[in-house]
């Protein structure tokens, strides 16, 4: 049984249909990359998986937690799904460690003694064990994004969603963040990511999903998708990004 199962997902913004019937299954430990043109619905799809976007139709299930268009209580789902954003979205009034500890403290009511150890563990995992008490504005973009990853991991999600996590970074900071993501993948974390880093996707992903006009236009293992695109749209897309 897949860990993440999307069935018949539909979503419109007003009269603009953005997701037009998405079916996608992701198994435990898989790494899936969503690619496609700007506006094809990649972010929207990703955001439906933890309920940041409400769906009009379809069913989302993650590790047995099912939601459909009528559900409003998303807490159980969100406990299973972590998310990392393009703009980091760290809490600026909290230190790196406090960012990491907040949700375990507030949502999981973890005891104070465990919290600090958790922050240390998670920040060490992303190579920031020496930045615990720094505020976000005292960190570089790459460091901030790594704190954001640690913050998500601290809730021990079953799957991590990453929306263009390196797009807001200066080029020289991209590698350090990708290295962390790669390590998560190697450690068996289930990942669904939107990315424009094609080389990275090729190396790390098990499955590449090409979205076009709100549908999954083509998908498969990266070697196949890159070397033998089946559709004209994907050929054009891959050609366009060189």
């Amino acid at each position: 049984m897949p860990l993440v199962d999307l069935i018949g997902i539909h979503k419109s913004f007003g009269t603009n249909p953005v997701l037009r019937g998405i079916d996608l299954s992701v198994h435990e430990g898989q790494v899936v990359a969503l690619i496609g043109r700007s506006g094809s619905g990649k972010s929207t799809l990703l955001r439906t998986i933890n309920g940041l976007e409400h769906i009009d139709d379809g069913v989302i299930s993650v590790d047995g937690e099912k939601i459909d268009a009528r559900d409003t209580d998303l807490r159980a789902l969100r406990l299973k799904v972590g998310m990392v954003f393009q703009q980091f979205n760290l809490f600026p009034h909290l230190t790196a460690a406090e960012n990491v500890m907040l949700a375990p403290k507030v949502v999981k009511k973890a005891p104070q003694a465990e919290l600090r150890a958790l922050a240390v563990e998670m920040l060490e995992k992303v190579g920031l064990g020496d930045r615990l008490d720094h505020y976000p504005d005292q960190l570089s973009g790459g460091q901030q994004q790594r704190v954001a990853i640690a913050r998500s991991l601290a809730m021990r999600p079953r799957v991590l969603l990453c929306d263009e996590v390196t797009s807001a970074l200066d080029p020289e900071l991209v590698a350090e963040v990708l290295a962390v993501v790669r390590k998560l993948a190697d450690d068996g974390m289930t990942l669904i990511m939107v990315t424009h880093e094609m080389r990275f996707a090729r190396e790390v992903c098990d499955q590449l999903v090409f979205m076009h006009q709100g549908r999954i236009h083509e998908s498969g293992p990266p070697e196949q998708v890159f070397s033998a695109p089946q559709t004209e749209e994907l050929r054009q897309f891959l050609g366009g990004i060189g």
Binding site: L74, R75, F85, N89, F91, H93, V107, P136, M155
Partner: protein, 216 residues
């Protein structure tokens, strides 16, 4: 007729100044507490609650404080509650303050970037948890300066309560003027005392604004 020496005038005005200060503090604390509730209702996901509180805020922002005071004072006696002037004054000022503070604070809450809501949602925080731990702490920094700035309006607003007979600074000024026939001197002192209350608040608001502007 009693002769008023200058020192008597100052002394009597100072006594009345206490009531102005007390009324201001009561209105500010009461208004802050009620304002917080109004704020939460204003930001609620329930539409009727948002509409109701928007109406509340607009009524208080769109009518003179004096009318609000009259309506409270005479309205309460109309329904058979014979309230003393100080209570009507405190109540009217509290409501007035709550409406303005709720609106100031709403602006501050909305100035917190959407990404903060999204990140905290994705971490499974509930609405109230998001407010408590993520949004309000950030909004608070933004709110300090305009809130203290508004407290100056509250202090000056207390002057209208003299109309219903509450003896605060302005009312005391009027009474002393009637006894001394020295309106320029007495009202000059009254104005000076208001200034001495308000000016430090303005200064404080300005310096906090500068401070939080620079801080993260």
């Amino acid at each position: 007729m009693v002769e008023f020496a200058f020192s008597d005038i100052v002394w009597n005005l100072l006594l009345a100044l206490r009531w102005t200060a007390l009324l201001s503090v009561v209105a500010f604390i009461g208004g802050g507490a009620v304002g917080l509730l109004v704020l939460l209702a204003r930001l609620s996901s329930r539409r009727w609650l948002r509409r109701l509180t928007r109406g509340y805020i607009e009524v208080f922002q769109g009518t003179p404080l004096l009318m609000q005071l009259f309506l409270t004072f005479f309205g309460l006696s109309l329904v058979g509650l014979d309230v003393p002037a100080w209570l009507a004054a405190g109540l009217a000022l509290t409501l007035f303050t709550s409406a303005f503070l709720a609106e100031i604070w709403r602006g501050c809450v909305e100035a917190v970037p959407r990404g903060q809501w999204e990140a905290s949602s994705s971490l499974a925080l509930t609405y109230l948890e998001q407010m408590r731990w993520v949004i309000l702490p950030q909004a608070l920094r933004l709110a300090v300066a305009p809130t203290i700035g508004f407290s100056v309006q509250v202090v000056k607003g207390t002057a209208v309560t003299s109309i219903i007979g509450f003896v605060e600074l302005t009312k005391a000024g009027t009474m002393i003027t009637n006894a001394t026939f020295q309106p320029f001197l007495v009202y000059g002192l009254v104005a000076l005392f208001y200034f001495l209350l308000c000016f430090p608040l303005s200064l404080c608001a300005k310096s906090l604004e500068r401070k939080f502007h620079a801080a993260r």
